[in-house]
Amino acid sequence: MSSVALPAPAQAPPKKGLSEETFWGIVLLVPYFAVFALFVVFPVLYGIWLGSSPSAYRKLFADPVFASTIVNTIVFLLVAVNVKMLLALGLSAFFLQEKAWIRWLSVLFLIAWAMPSIPTILSFRWMLNPEWGMLNALLFKWFQIEGPGWLTERHYGLAWAIIVHIWKSLPFWTLILLAGRMAIPKDLYESAAVDGATRWQTFGYVSWPSLRGLYLTCVLLSTIWSLGDFNSVYLLTGGGPIDSTHVLATLGIRYLRMDQVDVALASIIVAMPAILPIVWYMMKRLSAEHTAD
């Protein structure tokens, strides 16, 4: 290690085959390629092969549970994603306030996201138990109301699955939108205030134009991920009563448990035409944003 700067050609690049850099570049990518091939590509191909018999699709389309699952999934997505994102948009403005108690509340607010979902979902499940749960007990004690079977009726069951889903993921999206709001230059707000803009005008002319792109990104990402929310439905209602609250994420498991692997995979494959375009579009969008930096 001499610190004397030698003239450059001390080591001419060895032009035989790979340069040292490229060699290491390939070696360093081997682990990722191995995992990707063994645990992403192969399972996908194997799954497509297992789910390729036409009879599986005939069985799937003939199953009334499939139709109700599609309806549930669409309702789940439309309600959960929009309610969650609008709440997150509003709450991000709330958490922007510079007050000590609001900062503490934001730390507490994060706990739903920080905690594993299973204990809280099971907590909801027991709370909603029609006979022994706290909700109906308190409804009766305070208002003499006989609460309904929250998880044993389709509409209530689905509604609670949506609530549980929102409860879990709201802090995450609020945080993302909060970061988006914090990136808006303060002087924009100051000049809006000087011009006498109302609260809504400030939102419409300052905040929203800056947040619009981020909001759309969030809505699309949240749509894809909500589609994959297995726990909120499966651990809360188990797809019941009589398989009326399944969503696409839980339907495959239902067929798997009935030992109909081909139908299980068919139910996933039929969802792909809806999912892949969004995933593809998001990949392009995020990738373009990344290189724009």
């Binding site: 990518l29 990707f36 594993p116 979902s117 299973i118 993302i176 726990n231 999912i275 990344h290």
Partner: protein, 277 residues
């Protein structure tokens, strides 16, 4: 009047507080209620007790007899997933963003694509392939599955962090005669530590919290993860809910503590990673 002006804030604040705290409060109340009366009739436990925690920690009930080995499995799987994901992530990231290997852009896009597809839709094919590999019921099936799910995100977030490290550092090291692997070890890795903390935590929590994959791939009761053991309580009509909630509290504590400890890294990792306007 300060209050008169701020009341909408207080209103929203109270709603946020209640919304956040209710399910967690309920979890704690039931966990502190004696098993015989897991029926919550009021807002407060009538006879609060730590008896459930004693039963769980002493593995003194047949529902929790494997508690410690299940905890061990959860820890082992989570740590292995974090370590392997980090190793794969930094290696791939160095090749893509520092060596700038050809096709790096495409590898990033493939990783991103994998990351965006909901994991629930890959679960059944993954379960079937693990059967073909003979890995079902081995903790390694879950470890590899989780690594496959976590490493695309690792590569994506690391790519963004790594492009902020000036290339001049690599070039200066090269002029001093450093080999590629010396640059990796002495220039790149030290600067990536904050991102590695974020990704390590992410992978650790992802694996610890996973239910679906664990429930599909693990079968032997004593070697389940805690998450699956919790779900299995539901198989019984007369599930001992108080015990379930106590186990749930113990299960939730480590990841929550870790999340809060590394919150700053997590937040910047996520906001720099997943979403950017």
């Amino acid at each position: 009047m300060k209050f008169a002006r701020d009341w909408p804030l207080y209103l929203v604040g109270s709603a946020v507080f209640l919304w956040t705290i209710i399910p967690i409060y309920h979890l704690l109340v039931i966990a502190l209620t004696p098993q015989q009366e897991a029926v919550a009739s009021g807002l407060f436990p009538k006879h609060p007790t730590l008896q459930n925690f004693e039963l769980v920690l002493g593995a003194k009930h047949n529902m929790v007899q494997h508690f410690w080995s299940q905890l061990g499995t959860s820890v082992f799987i989570a740590v292995m997933v974090a370590v392997i994901t980090l190793a794969i992530g930094v290696c791939a990231n160095f090749a893509i963003t520092r060596i700038r290997i050809k096709g790096g852009r495409m590898i990033t896009n493939i990783a991103l694509l994998t990351y965006l597809i909901p994991a629930a839709f890959l679960a059944i094919p993954m379960y079937k392939i693990m059967g073909a590999y003979g890995l079902v019921d081995s903790p390694w099936s879950l470890i590899f599955a989780m690594v496959a799910l976590a490493s695309p995100y690792a590569i994506w977030v690391m790519n963004q962090a790594s492009t902020k490290i000036p290339r001049e550092l690599d070039e200066a090291a090269k002029i001093d005669g450093a080999s590629t692997m010396q640059i990796f070890r002495f220039v790149y890795l030290p600067l990536m530590v904050p991102t590695m903390v974020a990704i390590g935590t992410y992978a650790l929590l992802l694996a610890w919290n996973e239910y679906l994959y664990a429930f599909l791939m693990l079968a032997t009761e004593s070697r389940l993860t805690l998450s699956v053991a919790l779900g299995n309580f539901l198989a019984f009509d007369d599930a001992p809910w108080a015990l379930l909630m106590a186990t749930g509290v113990i299960y939730a504590l480590p990841p929550t503590a870790i999340y809060y400890a590394f919150r700053r890294y997590m937040v910047s990792g996520l906001t720099a990673g997943a979403v950017k306007s």
